[in-house]
Each structure stands twice: as structure tokens, then as C-alpha cells.
Amino acid sequence: MSRNKGIFIDQICALRKKSLRNRKKREANKAIAAWIEEDRLISGPGQALVIIMNSIGCEWARGKEGGCSMCGYSNDTIEDITADDLIQQIDDVLSRFSGKKFQAVKLFNSGSFLDEKEIPLKAQEKIMQLINSLSDVTEIIIESRPEYVSDLVLQRIQNQLQGKVLEIGIGLESSNDFIRINNINKGFLLSDFQKAVKIAIKNNARVKSYLLFKPPFLTEKEAIEDMIHSVLESIKAGARSISINPLNIQGGTLVFELWNNNLYRSPWFWSLREVLQTLWDKIKAEGLEKNVDRILSDPSGAGSNRGIHNCKLCDKDFIKALKRYNLSQNPAELNINICQCFKLWEEFLSYEVASFDQSLSMLEYGKKFL
């Protein structure tokens, strides 16, 4: 497994140390959050129970590598936690939602579910057993970095699950090694991801490729191109589900520092639309339709300054359109009325290439600068 150091590693480490010191104290036996949402499941539209677990957090972020440039999930973690705490978190959520209908469970633990240091074996097995006992549930989604995806680990998980589909979300973020290593500080290579996908498939699990839309230090245009490329590469590697995650600003990260200095803007909805519409055409052109089940985008912080946004006038329409797209998987859903900000987006797209100016968002209300 490769552990490549990105060029921003020193600063990311320093920021991480600081933010870990300042993280909020939480109860170890309580999940951070849980809710039911409408989602496009593998089997089609349905309900999913989302559980954000409290854990010690991602090893990559805790360690000397400092974690990823955009990730602030380590803020929602705890220093000490036992396997029993983790089991109790799930038990507690499941009993709270026992009367509700859902066909999928998504487990997020701000790190890798398959890493024994984060989720001890005992907890991994017990949690799977608990979910396995829910008869309506057909899909289970967990997340992990590729280095923890191994035959042994997957066999143990699969042993607890009977007839349920296991999907592992892996944050490839970008298929470009330079961008993943440097702009994101993710540490691993595309080849590591490809290996992990193979192991997953061999063990009857599916892979959902998590991709980061607009890593820092890219122009909006580069980000669009990178995303299209990354989706295609993910599908080719064997990931049947794709999740496009427009970057949202999280505290204590390098991206937060850039954003705070007006040197980073979360992507535009127009860019996401461009990605999705171009993408489906390309997938058809390359004959990859059969290899992909769904390309989703459920952005955090959508419509706010910290998340994907256009302008105040059309953000709400876009959020609705994106929901419709997620369920139907039809990119034509994104053809909302062209807002005045569309022309500005087009202008910025080209101008950013010409100038490499990453503070253009300051001119979205240009009059105030006069």
C-alpha cells in the first residue's frame, strides 16, 4: 500500500493537531446523528437509514500524514471508545427507528469501517449481525480507505450477512494521482483503489466510488474535466455506484484556510450539471451503461456559501432538480430555467483559465467593490 506525501502535508498536520485538540466532547455510546432519507438504492428509489457513528476517526487523519485537505470529519470523533460503545450506538439507533420503513442502512464512521483500530473486530461483526436481523433491509453501505479492504476482512463481514448486498464506499476522490496526492493529500494511488475494487468484487461486495468535486487549487474548468475523467475511471475499475461530492467547507482544514482568504469557492451547480450531462453522454458513447448502476450527488451544505451553490435566485430550484435527478438518474431533470448567474458562471469559467485567479467569487456581487 502506497502512502505518498502531498506537498501540503506539513500544514495539514499542523491544522489537524489544532482541530483535534479543540474537538467537541461527546458521549461514546451515542451516535452523532441518524436519519432516514429518500435515496436511489441499488434496487431503485427507496428509503435509507443513515447513521453517523462516533469513533476515533480516520487513521490517515490521526497519524503523521494529517489526513485530507478538505476533510473535517475528524472533528466529529472521540479519543477513547470501546467496541461495546460502538455496538451500543447502533443498537440505540435501530431501536429508535424500529417502527420506520427503510431498505438500506448507510454507516458512516468518519474513517474506515474495515479498519480494526477504528472499529474493533468484535464491533464490526456484531453491528453486521444487528443489521442483518432487519428483514426489510437489503443493502448495507459502509466506508473504508482501500488499504483495509482485504479478503480476510470481507469474508468475516460477509459471514454475518445473509443475502444482503454489501457496498463499500471508497473515497477515490480523483482518478488523477497528482491531484489525489497533492491537492487532496489522500496518500494512495489509483492502482490501490483498483486493487481494492477487485478484492471487493471477488468477495461479493460492491464498491461505491466517492469522488471529490473541485479539490483545492484547481480551476472550476479543471475540476469539471477531472470529475468526468474520475467517474469514467471509477466505472472502468469496477465501481458500479458513483457518488459525486461537491466540496463543502469544513472547519480545521486547509480548504477552510483558503476559503477564509477568498481563495476557494465551492463549485457551481452549473458545473455539476455540466459534469452530469456530459458524463451520461460519454458513458453511452463508451458503452459503459451496463457497468454502472447509479451516479449520485447528495451535496452537503448545498445552496450555502460553504457548499455547492449558484446564486440566491436559483439555488433552491437546483437542489430540488438534483433530488429529482438522483431518484430518476435522468440528467434532463437538471435543465432548469437559465438564471442570470449562468452567464457569469460561463464568464468565470474562461476567465479563471486566463488569469488563474481563484478569488473571482468576490465579484459575484461586483457593485460592492466599486
Binding site: 506539513d10 482568504n261 477568498n262 474562461s350 486566463a354 485567479d357 468576490m362 456581487y365 461586483g366 466599486l370
Partner: protein, 639 residues
């Protein structure tokens, strides 16, 4: 392609970018444009445009392949403001190594992309590297985050302008509103992007000279450019522009272009500073930046502000007090002017609106009184004119720039700063005088207050000769006359040559205290008709000229020879014989650091023998740091 520096004013300059076919004058504008493959820049305002490629992303290797452009980006330095120094330094080491290998390929077409960064020492490192690598141009991006931070803004540009050679072309890629262009030009931007005009258009913003209105908020039509004059009513104009975005864009770009042309015209007329003082009135950051620049970087700005000009100075706001020309005049009065030991009476006089003062009605009367004392006594009298914001002007220097060129709105109210300046200057000028020197204050009203402050400060009594608050009344003038006569009653007759004294004072002012006596050690006379150069004669030989419009004494070979031996205002030439009428930077071996643009200088050889006299185009410091271009206009050579 060549870049030729024409003139300089503060950190701003006028240049010509030339090749066999094209000519573009800076400051100018640039716009981005697209073809099928690339996005690139076009620099200039008409058809003859120079091109520049778009900067490389730091991801995809930095050296670009597009060699078809006139200006070519060679690097995009990683220096974003949020990044810490350790990260930046590490990347910079790599970059520098990579660039150092390519050093020989860099030329006047090379451009480096830079931006504001968090550490000033790191910024200096980058700039020093750009200078050492001989990358001749810089382009700036990500300026918007510091655009409203006047301190950072001024520091950023001052570093660029003091570390990189003055002929470095500075391109500003960040889209800035036209209201910022004057101060940014003064800080040293040579080429501005017109993008703000396009962005404003996309937001239905209709730009005006000093502001902008959303089309639906436009109350009156006040532009009559080709676009706007098509409409006959405001409503019609708004309707036209709402449906036709291209027209709105044309109008907005006109507004930007107009601003650029105003800046360029001001530079050509030597009036940039006055123009800036007007323009900052509508933009807070610009105003704050000018204040910071004047207070904290005045030395750097002064060294690049021409000493001599004929342009009038209208000092209307307090910014005028800190104008580089004003500060430098005050410096010179303090350091290069001394009241001669032969002077036994100092007469302090009020200023007049008319310049030079001796042409005014009031001063004609004062001079008449003073002259009436007779040839044998005049030599004892030193006249000092008290004024704002220059402070004190000795009569001998009333013709020099800016003493004869400034104008203020005279209402009789002096503000606190003006009083401070005037009293400080007056104290400095007279504080060393012996107790036997009589000080007569022939002043009234607010001038009297000033004199009283100085009396207290120096613990010295003045004699006030003006009654009823009118300095020109018969009584006051008679009182002045009697006081002068009484004061000089027991003084023996004294030799006095007004022209010689004037020349010596002027030469001191130009070249340093004591130089006047060396340059003009005999008896001289000054002849001339109004508005024509005044001839400086020694017996029947002409030894120099005083320019009537600036008051500057120009050097002749005779005075030049003396100045050369004194090693003052010299430019040391690498060689023995100079060809042509221009001295180029490559020929300069050494230069007096006191030289400022427009100063008269001597060109000397290794042994300080005079080779030629001429007028400096750039400062002595810049002569040393420039590697190409003209630095001295030669007027006369030793045969």
C-alpha cells in the same frame, strides 16, 4: 520585441512596447480571448496587439509550450495567502532549481505569475529570485482578497517596485474596478485587465466614471458614448441595454478604457500625482493607500519622482501636504539651504497667489521697500516667504519647481497640519541664526500666529512691522522700511551680487550645500526675456541656462567639469568616449544614489573626468539596477 521606458513618476511609468509591426504604450489594458484551442491575452487598445498566453496551472508542469505568444508565462509560483511558509519554502526550492536550469532562456518576453502571500520575507525571496533569474515581467493574480486592505496592498506593490528593476512590466490579471485603477497605476501596475467591465455587464451593472448603477436603478443618462448616444431618453437607454448585452459591455469597456487613457495622459503631462489626488476622492481604499504610501514609503516614492517639472500643482486636500515633490522641497530647504552668515536681517513675508511671488502686487511693494535701502545694504537682507504646504521659500528659490507652481485655496484658515509644517520649517530655517540677526515678521492675520508659535519655540523675539492686519498698507510698508533702516544703521556697506547669490543658492538646492560656491566662484549675471531660457553669463561667456518653466539650472561643460571633480550627481560610464545622444543602462558602471529623474547630471569616466552633461531619465539607483534602456539624455559632450 522591445520595451522602452519613456518617463517615470513614483512607481508609475510610461513605456512603449514595440516590435517591427506594432507599438503599444503602457499603462494600457488587456483582454482575454479564445480560439478553438486556447485561451490567451491580447495587450493594447487598438488593432496592433501583443499577445500573452494563459498561465500554467501549478499541477501540469510550469513551463508552457505555447511559444507563439509575445509574452510567455514561465512559472506560476505557489504562494497562496493561506499557505504557511514551510510549505511554500519547500516548493520554492524545487521551483528555483528548475528555473535556474532554464535561466539562459529567459528574456524580455518571460512572465512569472505571482500573487499576495502570507509572509513578507517569502514574498521578498520570490521577487529576488525573479530578479536574479532575469524574468522581465510579472503578472499578478488573486489580488482581490487584499484589494480593500490598504496596508497589504501598498506593501505588496512597494516590494515589487523596490525589488524588481523599474522597467519590469507589471500585468494585473485580477479584474479590478476602474475606480481602483488610478491608485494601482501609481503603485506600479502597467497593464490592467478589462474583465471588470465584462463581469459588471453580466450583472446588469452600468458603469459611470466613479461608480456604477444597476440598469433598473439608473435615474439619468449621463454618458454619451457611441452606445449611449443612440438613445434619446433614459428609459430608452435602459431598454436598449437591457435587451442588448453587447451594447452594455461596449459602454462599460469604454468607461474602463477612458480611465486608462486619463492615467496615461496624466503621466504624459507630468500630472499623474494631481490626477491621483483627484481620483482617490471616490474610493476609500485608494485614499487610504495613498496616505500609507506617502507616510511610510515616501523615500522610495521621492527617489523616483522627477525633481523638475512645469506642471502646476493644485494642493486642495491634505494629501497635497505629503506630495513627494513637496516633501522633497522641504527636505532640501532643511538640508541644502542655509542663511548666509552675511545676512543680518531676515524678513518673513506672506505668500501670494501669483507665482513667482515677485510678480505679485504685494511682493512688488515689499521688494520696492527693500530695494530702497540701497545697494550697499541689500546684501544684509534675507527674504523668507512663509507658505503652505511648502513651508518656507527663500526669495532666491522662488522660481524653482514646485515653489512657483503650486496653488492652494487661500481662505485664511490654516489647519493643524499646515501650521505644524510651516512652523517646523520656519524654525529649522532660522534656528541657527546668531543673536545679532534681526528677525522681522512682516505678516498679518494667521501668519502672525505662526510667527508667534515659532518665537516661543525658539525663545526669540521677532519685530512685527505690519499694522491693522494689512501688510501692503502705506503705514505697514513704512514701518517695514524704518525697521530695516534702523536695524542696518550701523552696518558698513557690503558688496552684493544678486545673480551670483541666486545661482549659488540654486546650485546648493540642486546638488548639495556648499556646491554653489564651487560652481559659481566668481561674478555672474543672468539675462533673459520672459518665457525664454535665462542665460547665465560670466563676463561674456555663457556658463549655463536656467529653464524658465522649471527653474532648473542646466549644466554646461564648464560647470559640469567642476561638479565631476566634486563627485556629485555623477554617472560613471564604462569607457572613454560616448557615442550618440543617449546613455544606456549597460554603459553605467556607477551612479550617484542622489540622482532623481529629470536632474541634470555629469557623465564621467573612471577617473571622474567629465565626458558629457545631460538629464537623468531614471534615478541613480535605478540606473544601477536596470540592465537595458536609456538612462540619461545627453545634452553636451566633451570634444
Amino acid at each position: 520585441m522591445r520595451i522602452q521606458l519613456t518617463s517615470i513618476s513614483g512607481f508609475a511609468k510610461l513605456t512603449k512596447i514595440k516590435d517591427d509591426m506594432k507599438l503599444v504604450e503602457t499603462p494600457t489594458i488587456m483582454k482575454y480571448t479564445k480560439n478553438q484551442k486556447d485561451i490567451f491575452w491580447e495587450i493594447g487598445e487598438n488593432e496592433n496587439l501583443f499577445s500573452m498566453n494563459s498561465p500554467p496551472s501549478f499541477l501540469h508542469g510550469n513551463i508552457t509550450n505555447n511559444l507563439n505568444a509575445d509574452f510567455i508565462f514561465v512559472y506560476n509560483f505557489l504562494m497562496q495567502q493561506s499557505l504557511n511558509e514551510t510549505v511554500l519554502e519547500k516548493q520554492f526550492e524545487k521551483a528555483f532549481e528548475e528555473l535556474n536550469h532554464l535561466k539562459s532562456s529567459f528574456n524580455e518576453r518571460s512572465v512569472a505569475l505571482i500573487q499576495p502571500t502570507s509572509s513578507i520575507t517569502f514574498f521578498e525571496r520570490v521577487l529576488n529570485a525573479i530578479r536574479d533569474l532575469q524574468i522581465s515581467n510579472v503578472a499578478i493574480t488573486n489580488l482581490l482578497p487584499i484589494l480593500s486592505n490598504h496596508r497589504k496592498l501598498v506593501e505588496f506593490f512597494t516590494k515589487i517596485r523596490t525589488i524588481l528593476p523599474i522597467d519590469t512590466t507589471v500585468f494585473l490579471l485580477s479584474p479590478v474596478p476602474h475606480t481602483f485603477m488610478p491608485i494601482l497605476a501609481y503603485l506600479g501596475v502597467d497593464v490592467f485587465s478589462d474583465e471588470y467591465g465584462r463581469i459588471a455587464t453580466k450583472q446588469s451593472l452600468y458603469l459611470t466614471d466613479s461608480n456604477g448603477y444597476y440598469l433598473d436603478e439608473l435615474k439619468e443618462q449621463f454618458c454619451f458614448c457611441a452606445v449611449c448616444s443612440k438613445a434619446s431618453t433614459t428609459e430608452q437607454l435602459i431598454n436598449n441595454l437591457q435587451v442588448n448585452e453587447i451594447e452594455l459591455e461596449k459602454h462599460n469597456l469604454n468607461i474602463l478604457l477612458k480611465k486608462i487613457r486619463e492615467i496615461r495622459a496624466a503621466l504624459k503631462n507630468n500630472e499623474l500625482r494631481s490626477f491621483i489626488e483627484q481620483q482617490i476622492q471616490t474610493n476609500i481604499t485608494s485614499a487610504a493607500s495613498l496616505r500609507i504610501l506617502d507616510k511610510e514609503w515616501s523615500k522610495e516614492i521621492i527617489s523616483r519622482t522627477p525633481t523638475w517639472s512645469s506642471a502646476p500643482i493644485k494642493s486642495i486636500t491634505s494629501y497635497g501636504y505629503y506630495r513627494p515633490e513637496v516633501k522633497e522641497f522641504q527636505n532640501r530647504i532643511t538640508n541644502r539651504f542655509e542663511i548666509l552668515p552675511t545676512k543680518k536681517v531676515v524678513v518673513i513675508l506672506p505668500c501670494s497667489a501669483r507665482k513667482p511671488y515677485s510678480n505679485s502686487q504685494s511682493h512688488k511693494k515689499f521688494i520696492e521697500i527693500i530695494d530702497s535701502l540701497g545697494k550697499e545694504k541689500i546684501g544684509y537682507i534675507q527674504e523668507l516667504i512663509l507658505t503652505s504646504p511648502l513651508g518656507v521659500i527663500p526669495r532666491q528659490l522662488e522660481n524653482v519647481y514646485p515653489a512657483a507652481h503650486y496653488d492652494i485655496p487661500v481662505t485664511g484658515d490654516w489647519d493643524f497640519e499646515e501650521k505644524e509644517i510651516a512652523t517646523e520649517l520656519l524654525s529649522r530655517t532660522i534656528e541657527k541664526l546668531g543673536s545679532d540677526v534681526v528677525i522681522i515678521a512682516h505678516v498679518s492675520n494667521e501668519y502672525t500666529d505662526l510667527c508667534e508659535i515659532v518665537e516661543k519655540k525658539l525663545n526669540r523675539k521677532f519685530i512685527y512691522t505690519s499694522n491693522e492686519n494689512r501688510t501692503t498698507s502705506y503705514q505697514s510698508l513704512q514701518c517695514l522700511k524704518q525697521t530695516l533702516e534702523t536695524s542696518l544703521l550701523d552696518k558698513p556697506p557690503i558688496q552684493f551680487n544678486s545673480a551670483t547669490e541666486k545661482l549659488q543658492t540654486l546650485a546648493d538646492y540642486q546638488y548639495g550645500l556648499g556646491i554653489g560656491k564651487e560652481l559659481f566662484c566668481e561674478k555672474y549675471s543672468i539675462f533673459g526675456k520672459p518665457r525664454l531660457p535665462l542665460k547665465v553669463m560670466k563676463n561674456k561667456t555663457q556658463v549655463g541656462v536656467i529653464q524658465p518653466e522649471t527653474g532648473k539650472l542646466t549644466l554646461s561643460l564648464i560647470t559640469g567639469k567642476i561638479l565631476a571633480k566634486l563627485k556629485k550627481y555623477y554617472v560613471k560610464f564604462e569607457g572613454e568616449t560616448i557615442e550618440g545622444s543617449t546613455l544606456f543602462a549597460v554603459g553605467v558602471k556607477d551612479a550617484d544614489q542622489e540622482i532623481r529623474p529629470s536632474d541634470d547630471v555629469v557623465i564621467v569616466n573612471e577617473k571622474f573626468d567629465l565626458l558629457a552633461v545631460g538629464q537623468a531619465i531614471v534615478s541613480g539607483k535605478d540606473m544601477m539596477s536596470l540592465s537595458k534602456g536609456s538612462v540619461v539624455k545627453i545634452r553636451q559632450k566633451v570634444k
